[in-house]
Amino acid sequence: MDLYRALLRCYPSSFRAEYGEEMVKIFAWRRREASSASVVIALWAEAFADVAVNASRVQWDVLAQDVRYTLRALGRARAFAFTAVLVAALGIGATTAAFSIADHVLVRPLPFPESDRLVKLWQDQTQRGFPRIEVSPANYLDWKRLATSFDGMAAYTTRSINLVGTGDPERLDAALVTPNLFNVLQVHARYGRTLASVDEAPNGTPVVVLSDGVWRAKFGADSGVLGRNIVLNDVAHTIVGVMPAGFEFPTRDVDVWTALQFRPSDLEDRNDLFLHVVARLGTGVTVDAAASQMRAIAAELEKQFRDNAQTSASLHLLRDQVSRQSRTLLLALVGAAMCMLLISCTNLANLLLARAFVRQKELAVRAALGAGWERLVRQTLTESLVLAALGGVAGVLLAVAATPLVARLVPTTMPIPDVPSVDLRMLAVAALVTIGTGVGFGVMPALRVMRNTDPSSLREGGRTGAGRSTERLRSALVVAEVSASVVLLVASGLLIKALWNVQGVNPGFRTENVLTLRTALPLPKYDSTEQRQQFYDRVIAGVRALPGVTNAAYTSALPMVMRGGIWAISLNGRAPEAGGDGAVSLRLATSGYFDTLGIQLLRGRDLSHADSTTSPFVAVVSESFARRHWPGENPIGREVFVALFNRTIVGVVSDIRVRGLEQESEPQVYVPSRQVPDGGLIFYHPKDLVVSASVPPSSLIPEVRQIIRKVDAQQPISDVRLMSDVVWAESAARRAQVRVLSGLAAVAFLLAAVGLHGLMTFVVSSRTREIGLRTALGAQPAEIVTMILRRGLYLAGVGVLFGMFLAYAAGRYLQSLLAGVSASDVPTFAAAVGLVVCMTLAGCLLPALRALRIDPLTAIRTE
């Protein structure tokens, strides 16, 4: 019989209590009637089957009943249910999205085998102000020959090239790589092969490997593309391979990979710094060991070559390429998300506690009517789980929707996809925390009711200790919420102010009504300087003749689009050695460039079309250049050795922000586009056309295209954009940061308001009797309202106090993102505190009005 009793434990205890004894009795009768052993065995078999079938059905019935009951109960408390689900969803969604992206950028290994052995190497010219600078081909080859710490060392550089032969001429981003790069990264082609050492040979057939993206977009994902020829920069290349999707090296913009070939001239000049170098550490070699070997090698080379003066070598893990700002930002995002989760959980706890308090009587009544402990816990558990599950589902949807939005914070310079997948682990953690909160704070009240069998809890307005302790707990939770929302408000306030600062920076050039586009002239077709100049002249003349165009010119690169292009100068009439007399931002330009971009000519003259290789070599310098070298003197007529020649300064112009709105720029030097020898300064060949207009510049695009096509039908046009967009894009990352953080702050603020309002409502309803009594004893309405407000403001005040300390700490941490705004910026703090005070007053308003409506007679009579 004991076995049968044990079997019955499969039924819910309520069912067992009701029918268990009867069932045992029936089973006993049947045993007695059983005539033989085989009948007994059959009876047992039947009993097992019976329990298996019916126990699960009864369990299911109870669950269904609980869920039905819960849905009915929640249906009656729609506002509560909606708020609880929303709160849980926000916590789960925000945390998951933030962690997914931080994990994607900061933690997850790069998509290469044993990627923790991949390092990036730089020339270290700290003494000249460049701790991480690109490497010269000669130094790269020497490093590779001498270093023993690595299993492989490879170099690459990126370049824009023109693709002809697949429809319209087009511009592609190419990576020129040493063929062993693929071995160093340990990646293989999806179709065909990667580059091989034969491809390096100077007289071999040029070959190209396609990215998955280009293969799909330009070649229709045709697997028969191998062996086909395409024309890149006027040279036929054979397609030998297609890389798999997700291989994005060095950045996700790269379309094709071709072999990097060194010309003998590349190896002569150790100041020609353009290579990026990656290497794979040998087995068991540490980063520090490799770094010290590299420093020793660099010291040796420094002794041998004059160009290598003050040049060491440094290396770091490829993984750690993320800039400090990006890292700070992502960690800040994680911090904000943690605040959100904290606020969500406290709010959820608060909601459930409030509900539990309201339902305490209901639970007590049901317990008094004989509902078992198990039944009540089961009931509340079901309710918490249903809420958490709904919140979880909504949270997942929110995370999936939010992740692409915050993906703008992924730096573009990393070899990883731009949109991370939603991190399932993080989703699970956030869901568990939320469900844990829900279950904990949902079930606790039921347990307390069962423990506390004091019948006084049944009485109307009964003041068991529960009301007070619940209020204390809820007050603590509200203080936490207010603190967290102050932190988020201040942090986003500081970032908004930083954004204003940045957007208020004067770039130094005209941004409105300026159209720009790029025609990168291919080599060797345009090797000759005069040939290029003819192209420029014809295009500029055509464009200037268009109605609505005020001026047009060509330049090497647009400010803020190309930030590099730094050149060493000297003032002693000879080519600069080892850094010379300082670095300048060098540009080649045609005449009219300054006028087109609204850069002021302060002294002397503009660059002229007459400045050619047969006339005296000249340069125009920026104001800061003149001030640095000849403070207080007239620089016109002085000489500076720059861009291969000793040049006479003929003009001074105002400074512009080449490196963007947030960075100081080197002084600028402009030289005439014609004063360059054939084959020299390839990197600086003018390629960007700028057009200023008195009409909306976008309307000019078709006509400008037509003019270029007439000059050279083979010439692709790319990067058509407005200068205003270029400057606007400068603050795009900041705007994304501000949007994400302010979004979080707004939600946190709302949640804190909900929490505070809920608590004050609770306070009023649990003190109905006290308030009624006071009113009856002659308290004025103002006193009642003051009492409520004092309580609310006290809690908000404590929250604000904690919050301000934390916010200041957060601001200090964010300092590098604040563009000069102080972490203790008073107006920002004042605004945040003001908002919290307003929120507190608003949150107390309705409860205070309700308190005023309390009828003293009713309140006291219920006792």
Binding site: F15, E18, Y19, E21, E22, M23, K25, I26, F27, W29, E46, A47, A49, D50, V51, V53, N54, A55, R57, V58, D61
Partner: protein
């Protein structure tokens, strides 16, 4: 006629439920008596298990088809620890409705040529 709309919503009845209603139609019975009555009336063809019985009873109590009786029958028949069940008005109505439904069904079957063998 019963104008309670509920009987219709409970149809068709699970077999066990209908048998239990038939077993308690004439007199109040306890659980084991119901099992025995059903077995006797069906010639042993339907043997309710304890689990099925009480699961059905629990639901029938909730649906108000049965009620538990506390006024005991004659002392000599009474096992005081037994629980007796009595059919309610609604239970009667539902059983009638189910019988009507089945009769109509049989008629339709007969009209379609599925006549049960004549007794």
């Amino acid at each position: 006629m019963h104008d309670d709309p509920r009987p219709a919503t409970l149809l068709p009845l699970p077999t066990a439920t209908f048998h239990i209603l038939m077993a308690v139609a004439g007199e109040d019975r306890h659980g084991y008596a119901i099992i025995q009555n059903v077995a006797a009336r069906t010639g042993g063809a339907v043997r309710l298990s304890a689990g099925t019985l009480y699961r059905s009873i629990q639901r029938m109590l909730e649906q108000d088809l049965l009620t538990e009786v506390h006024d005991r029958p004659l002392p000599e028949d009474d096992d005081e620890r037994r629980r007796y069940y009595r059919i309610t008005e609604l239970g009667t109505a539902v059983a009638r409705a189910e019988a009507r439904r089945l009769t109509a069904l049989v008629r339709l079957a007969a009209a379609s040529g599925f006549a049960p063998e004549q007794a």
